[in-house]
Symmetry: C2
Subunit: 181 residues, 2 copies
Amino acid sequence: MSGSEEGEEAVPDDVSDDVSADVPWLDVREMRAWLRLVAVLELLPGTLDAQLRRDAAMTHFDYMVVSQLSEAPGRTLRMTALAQRTNATLPRLSHVVRRLEERGLVERAPSPEDRRATDARLTDAGLAAVVDAAPGHVRAVREHVVDALSSEQVEQLAEIAEALLRRLDPDGRMTDLYDPA
Amino acid sequence: MSGSEEGEEAVPDDVSDDVSADVPWLDVREMRAWLRLVAVLELLPGTLDAQLRRDAAMTHFDYMVVSQLSEAPGRTLRMTALAQRTNATLPRLSHVVRRLEERGLVERAPSPEDRRATDARLTDAGLAAVVDAAPGHVRAVREHVVDALSSEQVEQLAEIAEALLRRLDPDGRMTDLYDPA
DNA sequence: CGCTGTTAGTTGTAGGTACAAGCATCGTTC
DNA sequence: GAACGATGCTTGTACCTACAACTAACAGCG
């Protein structure tokens, strides 16, 4: 797994139990990758948000919500399903959908099948908003991500991200791991 | 969505305003990589924050701040330098450092050289907090990221992230691109 | 039925971040 | 040496998210 080519301090990690068990520090390569990833985590979301807020008056998360709805049959999804497709918790989604409803982009109705459930449906205005926002967003994604990478790197990124998601969400409760085939 | 392989600019749009110029949609591979990256962007920060808040009563960003200070000569850095090392804007850093100062982890003093500038210095309590928080944090980073990847993937990740950062921050105003050598 | 536990969603609140001013200080120019 | 813009940082406000209750409805079981 981790390449130990050079001077790594071999710490005797015979610790008994708890959280304070010795953890091998990151070596130079790992540290470099990690610090750069952190920088991306810090900068990329803000960049995407800024573009969408400026050009379409919505958050990147808002965009994911309406975008997912626009691709769903009947432009409708149950809150739980929508939460999974957007990697969100239910409370967060609930707040966001309420705001989108206040803006007239989404409608909510109790599901006929299960009276606990709520169906969120994209309105015509909501669909128009997605159609309007999509080109600028795709452009931003290309500029800042896809076009910055070689086609091999795009493939590598897909696999790396998948490996991370398996750890972040082992049961796939949130993520779909989206594999369009 | 987006099956077409080539054939861009099929539409005679002829817009003078370049914002709405046609952008080629993402193909299946690109889309898969992108959606997975988005999921990571959504889940990883929260995971890191949760661990640090639970075990050390601080945000991941707080940790970066105190961690950077702990490695600086004299445990002191000018606000601007600290902002660059943490990929943060100055307003954000200002708020955070104020809170850290209220908790006694950091001290602020006007710089002797430039009376506009502020030097942030890690206190003894602050250093203790870093030392305390580090093992658990490193463990989390290993669990959720480093150990999820092969050593080739770690290397690939470093290069991919670097490529992205060049686009996200072309002038390196924020990121250092940290290359310990 | 009534009890228990799980699932689906909402809401309240506390806390962090972005954006936009604002206020000093410095440097340079004329 | 006064004026002008640039730099370094702070503050105020608005918004978004996380976490923790809380309600309502289903499902199984005696």
